[in-house]
């Protein structure tokens, strides 16, 4: 399907999020949309997918016909489907019910049998594996994204918009996704791929448009000139910093024979000694056990066996709040669901995170604290901004700004998911500062380069198995990728479950 965007404008109050964007995407093209956080990518895509409406004067033309898209349902009716950055699904419902929702086939009862067949077929094509009868809230964010992609294709989307789709999935899942996406243009599908990851865009897209501060600042076709793209995105050249290991001999966290269990996975007998100042990255496909592991380190999941010690203090079986008081902070991936409180302002959050004693709120101190944090964490917002009004990247910075001081152990789930490279560097510089102050870090990421760049050691998870700690400096992305995919694991003699 041919997509033409003409003179798209969008105001949110005083913010001019899209400033007269013109873009022509021929049928069968994989179009990349690049831009840093807050550049207006998501806004533009939400307009095309009917989630929000553009200001008057803007025009969307599909296959030569000017259309008005009033709602996401309307968009899918026109053949435009969007995969949102945060999955929009129904966690308390079954996978199959989510899949069926939104399909208007007539009749009172959905044809579950047919739907199951289609579901399994599509899942096989993408090599995604989940049980259609399981519940969505048992899936990881990555798996929920996969489900959404399948659903949109099944609904008959001919324009598929993917907003940062690779942030939640592993390297091997990503390559599967890319090979599928590359097949789709042959069927006259148009793919719009929104990302801030240069390598993804370069390896996938037929043409790229770069947004900066709400404006379309440039377009490019292969061969791509990376430094030129970066310059267009940021208006300057950015490079990753040097590795800066901060290591001591002091033990921070000690796991002895720790075993964990939930309905899907068993992790057995993990031993780990984490030094003060050390960073450990957890790699693995979504749902391989790293989420349960990091939550166990936070005191949110109780180990079924073994002991957890922090600075020699035995915390086994203690509550999350006991861990928190001992200096452990956990930042979850689902920002608006677990990390922040929609409806409260940035100031409210900072005040709450200080664990205030006393009765009456000190407004002046709160205001000063918020202004201070906003400045030092480079958050685009005011002390009175509600957290839900911030962009994803700024929400992430806000979460980081909530970390207590002093801290012993920082646990992060996808700390830089969905962030542009400048923010990534910034956030890691903040985290490394914590390491220099003696804190240790454990983080989950699906970005292998991030893991290798910023960790001292890496633990790889593969369906509940945990690798011994791997030295990050001497490991390549390929080696890591193989381990994540289940290759190169030592064979143990028959006894392990």
């Amino acid at each position: 399907m041919n997509v033409e965007l003409k003179n798209i404008h969008k105001h949110f109050g005083n913010v001019h999020a899209n400033k007269g964007i013109n873009l022509n995407i021929p049928s069968g093209t994989i179009q990349g949309i690049l831009g840093e956080n807050g550049a207006g990518k998501s806004t533009l895509m939400k307009i095309l997918s009917g989630f929000i409406q553009a200001d008057s004067g803007s025009e969307i033309i599909l296959d030569g016909k000017s259309v008005t898209i009033d709602s996401p349902a309307d968009a899918i009716h026109h053949g435009v489907g969007m995969l949102h950055q945060d999955p929009l699904d129904f966690p308390p419902m079954k996978v199959l019910d989510n899949f069926i929702l939104g399909r208007f086939t007539g009749g009172l009862f959905p044809n579950r049998k047919e739907a199951t067949q289609d579901f399994n077929l599509l899942a096989k094509e993408f090599d995604f594996s989940f049980d259609p009868e399981s519940y969505v809230d048992s899936l990881t964010v990555g798996e929920r994204q996969q489900l959404e992609i399948m659903r949109l294709l099944w609904l008959g989307a001919r324009v598929l918009i993917l907003d940062e789709p690779t942030t939640g999935i592993s390297a091997s899942q990503k390559s599967k996704l890319f090979s599928t996406l590359k097949k789709l243009p042959e069927q006259a599908m148009t793919i719009i791929f929104v990302s801030h990851k240069l390598e993804d865009v370069e390896s996938l897209c037929d043409q790229v448009a770069v947004l900066q501060a709400g404006e379309l600042v440039g377009e490019m076709k292969p061969p791509f000139n990376t430094s030129k793209l970066v310059e267009m995105m940021f208006g300057k050249v950015v490079t990753l910093g040097e590795r800066q290991p901060v290591l001591t001999n002091e033990t921070m966290l000690e796991l002895k024979n720790v075993s964990l269990e939930d309905v899907r996975l068993k992790i057995k007998n993990v031993d780990l000694n984490l030094c003060a100042g050390e960073v450990i990255g957890l790699a693995g496909m979504e749902g391989s056990g790293q989420g349960m592991f990091i939550r166990a380190c936070a005191g949110l999941v109780r180990p079924v066996g073994g002991r957890v010690k922090l600075k020699g203090q035995d915390l086994t079986g203690k509550s999350y709040h006991a861990y928190k008081n001992a200096g452990v902070n956990f930042l979850p991936a689902a920002r608006l669901e677990e990390g922040l409180v929609p409806g409260l302002s940035l100031t409210d959050h900072f005040v709450l995170a200080e664990q205030p004693k006393g009765i009456f709120i000190d407004r002046v101190a709160g205001q000063n604290l918020a202004e201070d944090r906003i400045k030092s964490f480079n958050i685009r917002g005011t002390p009175l901004s509600m957290v839900e009004s911030l962009s994803g990247g700024n929400q992430q910075r806000a979460e980081l700004a909530l970390l207590q001081d002093p801290l012993s152990l920082v646990l992060l789930e996808h700390p830089t998911r969905g962030l542009d490279i400048e923010s990534v560097i910034y956030i890691w510089s903040k985290l490394k500062e914590r390491c220099r102050q003696g804190a240790s870090i454990i983080f989950i990421s699906s970005d292998l380069e991030e893991i290798l760049q910023y960790s001292d050691r890496v633990l790889v998870f593969f369906s509940g198995k945990v690798s011994p700690p791997i030295d990050a400096a001497t490991t390549s992305v390929e080696q890591l990728g193989q381990l994540i995919g289940g290759k190169g694991w030592p064979e143990k003699g028959g006894s392990h479950a």
Binding site: Q53, Y320, H321, K324, F330, P332, E337, E338, G339, L340, V341, P342, G343, L344, D348, H349, V351, L352, A353, Q355, P356, G358, I359, F360, I361, L402
Partner: protein
């Protein structure tokens, strides 16, 4: 910001006008004159000092209940059980009075004890709903509704059983308490300034809890995102329980005043539906404590103003309830319209 506030005011005014128009249409359909009905309601509520005192008698428990509900709403809880908490407050107060019927202690002390007793009973009853929710996974709406029925049954049991009048038990309630167990009232009027004072102090405390304390901020965080609040280090279920206790204590105070300042005995319908009316007030003011006083006063005036409608106009006095309900619905509706309108603009 100012623009948002202005548009909010305009839409609320519009909602008020629409509610009046809607009720007028109903009245016209019932072949009654709306103007006359409204005029009667106004004279019936503020037409004389005596009538206005009656409005205040209704206003006091309504304001206390509304204040309590602001706390539970802030914690994200629908405390439907507030009705039963009023009843238990009344029972608690009656129980304390019964203990001191023959006592020589000063009356002021006994009344104070009785009011605190009512608050404690109300809080205890609320804690049942809270415990059912926290430890039993029973939604507070269902738990509260169930407890409301139990509280009504308990009142009837007491009136017809252990606390029945000498000779014959009756729906008119228990034996009235001695005169000195009554909160002092203004001469010739039924209103007690003490009761009014308690209600005003209650709502002011709630306002400060919600606006100015860490406790209130934490309560709001728990109400808006339970999970994130927990991860931020707030003891979440404890805060839910605190909010139930505070609301129950305020509702209990309302019940205590019904006994100590209005009926001077326990009667079957001691709560007078103020719990449900309080829920409407809380929704109407969009959980903003500042508006509790004027809106509760207005609702109380409607209740009292409609009392003379059956005599003067042969209309049922439930017209007040119709107007209150329609008003809440239109305000909520217009708020939805406004948000749509503001988003588009």
């Amino acid at each position: 910001m100012l623009k948002g506030r202005l548009s909010g005011f305009v839409f609320q005014l519009l909602a008020f006008v629409l509610a009046l128009v809607f009720v007028s249409l109903i009245l016209i359909a019932a072949k009654a004159s709306p103007m006359e009905a409204y005029k009667n309601m106004i004279t019936g509520s503020v037409g004389s000092m005596r009538k206005f005192a009656e409005v205040l008698v209704t206003f006091v428990p309504l304001l206390l209940v509304t204040a309590g509900l602001l706390i539970t709403f802030s914690a994200g809880l629908w405390n439907i059980g507030v009705e039963g908490q009023i009843v238990l407050g009344a029972i608690g107060t009656a129980w304390v009075f019964r203990q001191f019927v023959d006592s020589t202690l000063p009356a002021g002390l006994i009344i104070t004890l009785a009011i605190f007793g009512g608050m404690a009973f109300g809080a205890l009853w609320a804690s049942f709903a809270g415990a059912l929710k926290t430890f039993g996974g029973v939604n507070e709406i269902f738990g509260g509704l169930g407890l409301n029925f139990v509280s009504t049954a308990l009142t009837l049991y007491l009136i017809f059983g252990p606390w029945k009048r000498e000779g014959v038990a009756s729906m008119s309630g228990t034996e009235p308490f001695p005169d000195h167990f009554s909160l002092p009232q203004l001469p010739d009027l039924r209103i007690s300034l003490w009761a009014l004072g308690i209600a005003l102090v209650g709502v002011v405390i709630v306002y400060f809890i919600l606006q100015g304390t860490y406790f209130g901020l934490k309560l709001k965080a728990v109400g808006k995102n339970f999970r994130a609040a927990y991860l931020l280090g707030i003891p979440t279920w404890q805060y839910s329980m605190y909010s139930f206790l505070i609301c129950g204590a305020l509702a209990g105070a309302a019940g205590a005043i019904q006994v100590a300042a209005v009926y001077h005995r326990l009667i079957p319908s001691i709560s007078s539906g103020y719990g449900y009316l309080g829920l409407m007030v809380a929704m109407l003011i969009n959980y903003q404590a500042v508006w509790a006083i004027p809106v509760a006063l207005f609702f109380a005036a409607l209740n009292i103003g409609s009392i003379q409608l059956p005599i003067v106009m042969k209309l049922d006095s439930s017209l007040a309830g119709v107007l209150q309900g329609v008003l809440v619905l239109f305000v909520l509706l217009m708020e939805g319209v406004r948000q749509k309108f503001v988003k588009k603009a």
